[in-house]
Symmetry: C3
Subunit: 263 residues, 3 copies
């Protein structure tokens, strides 16, 4: 979307998260750095009310419990009713049966607009025989572009597969986002942060495929700029926030590297 970042910073959408306890601060803080207003509220008594005043809902099963899944489903239904986008980060699917089941339960209970995961998480969800090492991707056998597209078709949603090369598909187009830097894997939480950023851009853009591409390419550009200045994982994280907070559409534009893929 033209001037997507500028619009995000002007609109300041409220982005409701029900997320994990490991990266919850960075999910909130990166949402703020990009211009959105994060709110985290998981109590079953209020989660739907918070969703109803929000412009996007971001769900992340990183430290799931049965109670949190219940709140996620309540909020996802409220988001569907209000017609705001729902992002689901399927952290750790392929590592335990419980995660496989809970991700399926959310997807069967409400409509998710954007499913995000790493290569083995998405492969497992798509029915492949994939295993996830905790929350880390392992190599998969299937073609990732084919997987993303087919899952997008079968779930009528946009699929985001993150990894060395990020893939986005809405079931018709397939896009490869070649921005980002390996240093982003040196700190915990960049995957979760990506979901928050996707939710923030999707709050303003009905074309969720386009919103996800914007989110991943802007974040990737910031990662590249930060990596060039850092001397380890501590300074990388500091520079990552500095680069995000100083990013503009004009600055990022020439660095964005997206490819449309046949598949």
């Amino acid at each position: 979307m033209k001037d997507a970042l500028k619009k995000l910073r002007e609109t300041k959408p409220l982005v409701h998260h029900i997320t994990n306890w490991v990266t919850i601060y960075d999910c909130a803080n990166i949402t703020r750095a990009f211009g959105g207003l994060p709110v985290m509220a998981h109590a079953v008594e209020e989660c739907a009310d918070m969703t109803k005043i929000s412009s996007a809902l971001v769900l992340n099963i990183g430290t799931l419990t049965s109670e949190l899944i219940e709140s996620m489903i309540i909020s996802a239904k409220a988001a569907n009713e209000k017609q705001i986008p729902v992002v689901l980060d399927i952290v750790g699917v392929g590592a335990t049966q419980f995660r496989n089941q809970m991700a399926a339960k959310i997807l069967d209970s409400a409509h998710v607009d954007i499913i995000k995961g790493n290569y083995s998480e998405i492969a497992k969800l798509a029915g492949e025989n994939a295993r996830t090492k905790g929350v880390e991707a392992t190599s998969i056998n299937a073609d990732p572009f084919w997987l993303a597209k087919n899952l997008a078709i079968s779930r009528s949603c946009t699929v985001v597969m993150t990894g060395k090369e990020d893939i986005v598909s809405d079931g018709s187009g397939i896009f490869s986002i070649k921005n980002g830097h390996s240093e982003m894997g040196s700190i915990v939480g960049t995957g979760c942060m990506a979901a928050s950023i996707i939710g923030s851009f999707a709050a303003l853009n009905d074309d969720f495929c386009d919103a996800a591409i914007d989110a991943l390419s802007f974040f990737g550009v910031a990662g590249e700029l930060a990596a060039a200045k850092s001397t380890g994982s501590g300074s990388f994280k500091m520079h990552l926030y500095d680069e995000v907070s100083g990013l503009t559409d004009e600055k990022a534009g020439p660095m964005i590297n997206i490819e449309s893929v046949d598949g």
Copy 2:
């Protein structure tokens, strides 16, 4: 209080928190940086025991659940009994009915010495027709000085309203703290951190209005010093901790900017 920061660093009071999962680390870490010893313990089985060995109690409803509220009330009653100060940060009041009700439940179950919130949270608690955007303040109709003073009178406590201009009132005096920097709003958690710092100073000073003024002005000065050195939200946060850990009463003194307000 004269030499307030020096005394805090010498006394190292234990500050018990029952707080939210987003900013819990920064609540603890800023308490430590100012010289206090943070402890976070929310289990219903032990929270009163932890309060009883502490010198202040800081409650924050940012990611409240019914269970957490129960623990907060148990601890607040233990704090009342032991006559140590109770700080309540009413995060998100005005956003959902549940938050409004739970904040009221705490306030009706135990005495809170210092109520802290942003402009719309305090306005809502004071009975105004205010709405909070998630955990972000929205504009209010009433005069904020009048609101702070009247809530302080009706609840027999000190009220802290944070925003572009921080306001503190104990029901007789009204003070405006003009320290701080807009960059403090570029990162998540500075509001929650302020409550932890207020609790730390209140642990040593029976004049809670004075303790809150000290906390906000010292923190604001550190924010100003950090903003002058930072190049984005990542480096701002790093410098903020550096400036807090290097702050002294002598260094902060000439920068402190407090105004007594008629109202």
Copy 3:
């Protein structure tokens, strides 16, 4: 162990944590910075399954609840069955009865390979009349070397006592690790991070005493290097991660300062 850090970075063991909500991010992030793959999963329905695909289990009772303790015991039993090391950080033992009881419950329900705590936590667990100030050590009467050795013998495990001088004993040898820097106490979480690092090294080394010594000395060296570059607690934390991510066996070697103690 020779080339211990190199092996950790090559092997990338999965380190399962059930830990506290304050330092959970830093537990994960320091595990990653040292080369391991952290995973945090506490749901009773999946915690055993996650342990079964992991190479070490790290338990930390910093923000314990009855439910978390139940998950810790289930995972510890699964770890015993799979014969992977279990590390238990007894945060806050000596502060409340509940912590004393829950730590004892874990230790009586499953075998813990490495017990870690500060001086007063270990003293209390060993039956001394010690009190912990929240999660902070207080001075103890007993000889710390004697305490560590005797607790190691009585619990048939390795004991790690952290403080100004770190002590490790497996019941036969007693070692004093003289690396580290007082600045490590200026930020919250270095104690918890140490437990995560110990778990990471123990995943590769059946000699848990040796693994703990490696972990504490490498972390201490990184702390010394970081302190030399920092200008406060914010920059110290950034440099600490940078130094860990840039550390090698060769770089650390000449700085490591371990002493065998008679006792």
